[in-house]
Symmetry: C2
Subunit: 338 residues, 2 copies
Amino acid sequence: MRATVLHAPGDIRFEEVPEPKILKPTDAVIRLAASCICGSDLWPWRGLQPVGAPMPMGHEYCGVVVEIGSEVKTVTPGQFVVGSFCLSDNTCPHCRNGFQSSCNQREFMSGAQAPYARVPLADGTLVATPEMPSEDLIPSLLAASDVLGTGWYAADAARVLPGSTVAVVGDGAVGLMGVLAAKQMGAGRIIAMSRHKARQDLALHYGATDIVQARAEAGIAELRALTGGIGADAVLECVGTQEAMQQALRVARPGATVGFVGVPHGVELDGQALFFAQVGLMGGPAPVRRFLPHLMDLVLSRQIDPGRVFDQSLPLADVAEGYRAMDERRAIKTLLRM
Amino acid sequence: MRATVLHAPGDIRFEEVPEPKILKPTDAVIRLAASCICGSDLWPWRGLQPVGAPMPMGHEYCGVVVEIGSEVKTVTPGQFVVGSFCLSDNTCPHCRNGFQSSCNQREFMSGAQAPYARVPLADGTLVATPEMPSEDLIPSLLAASDVLGTGWYAADAARVLPGSTVAVVGDGAVGLMGVLAAKQMGAGRIIAMSRHKARQDLALHYGATDIVQARAEAGIAELRALTGGIGADAVLECVGTQEAMQQALRVARPGATVGFVGVPHGVELDGQALFFAQVGLMGGPAPVRRFLPHLMDLVLSRQIDPGRVFDQSLPLADVAEGYRAMDERRAIKTLLRM
């Protein structure tokens, strides 16, 4: 089969690779219904994260099970499944505590920008739908695999409560899903920081009540003014840069928590500044598996439409163009059709 | 009157100073029942924090109101009061949100290692007892002013819940109060990290179930082994050094929060390490005012005895010896008698 492999920064290829096979009795192999490109895929593509051996790309996936290992019990061939980008056994103490993304057996999914993919730890990772979903729900189910689950975790980690005033730093796909999550959690006010019309429109669609266009100091000042000088009750940091983290910390009110879900690149925190700001931090790779059944229910009952975050759809063979479009911010998030 | 003034690192003097007066209509002046030395007083004394002009020392206090400003309404001369080391109006949005230590009008108390002290923002800061307390309760009421309230906040910020496994880093007075707080909050297991017999004994008295004597890597390994490799549900960081913070982060399980209350000196945090550890942080100067009525009730009804943390008692005039004893760890915490 042909699949997506990163050879070096900027050098993404759609090329012949071996078809995935069951390697362990806990594996499943799925035929993808769709795949997509993640903001985090751009880090190695941009050369901001080392690329060693050629990397099979893609960690967001949903589709139909075609084969299972001998120990797999909860999914069977023919079922439609969604899985988290973090593979987990869902039985270890960290999984049982709701942090499947820190599972003792944690692996990260790879090779999902492809027609078929091997999913290790299938029982602990995959969640099947009750029946074959309608075709138009595929993008939203795919979103649950990472981008929606990650935005949801940002809001969960930031402890969004009914009535909260929430600030969302980052207007990428994860930030937009953070807006959706905050709305579902009952936030009273959701302030999205964005300079881009299309992203602002989507943020408003997902429940943002205010848009702050200004950046850096001016953006911080504008947000603080919007909250009567108090700051936000909960802040979602959905980028991963030092600038975004500092912005998040500075728009948070004392006692607030910054939920940070962008993989930090070059982020350093000064303990004393954090202490006197009296702002909490909670982040990490999202334990999507914790949220997955609920998120899939919300999608299948059409209460949420996270799939709208895909504003570009390309045939899988054109994956390289998808990377370029996302890098140049011509696309918020690119769906790859099979 | 004679009071305590720091002139330079190591140069603490008990010398003649002007008696405090009402300077603003929101001030009160109190006659102290007792005062004490805080671990944080040692930072400038050790030269680890700049000493500019001569500094009037002492921020922990309780005693009898002798005079009030024209706008003070909630306390009257003759009442016994305890106040937080953080002065607050208790009416601003941060105060109403329970973070009085980030009050818009916040000031830090000073000059309380003295027979009399001025307390700004008296209405928002001081809490009166229903009647004159018994003499033997004075040390415990004094503790509520900072050390108990700070240990309590460490446990609150770390989100100790009934049944939690709690690790306490730091066997100073604040750490010991953290043990007491975790016990009061229903922790199932409280692991105190301490190498000193007297401090271990006090930790056990206050509710510690396990003591880890080993330090650094060995201490981390021992604590992790005690928790079946899982780590603690909640960690109290009660020191403020880089080493203590790293130890705290590394004994926390994924999803746990480190409540940090030691003023950080040279603490730097790597965003990516924090992300992948999936450990939360919440700290800052303790909002003692939030807890004060409850803590005073616990003391007055003799449910807790935080005053036992004072293992040295000196006449105020011997304050310099108290600083030396605490610096050399001959004393956990020194009470200053009037």
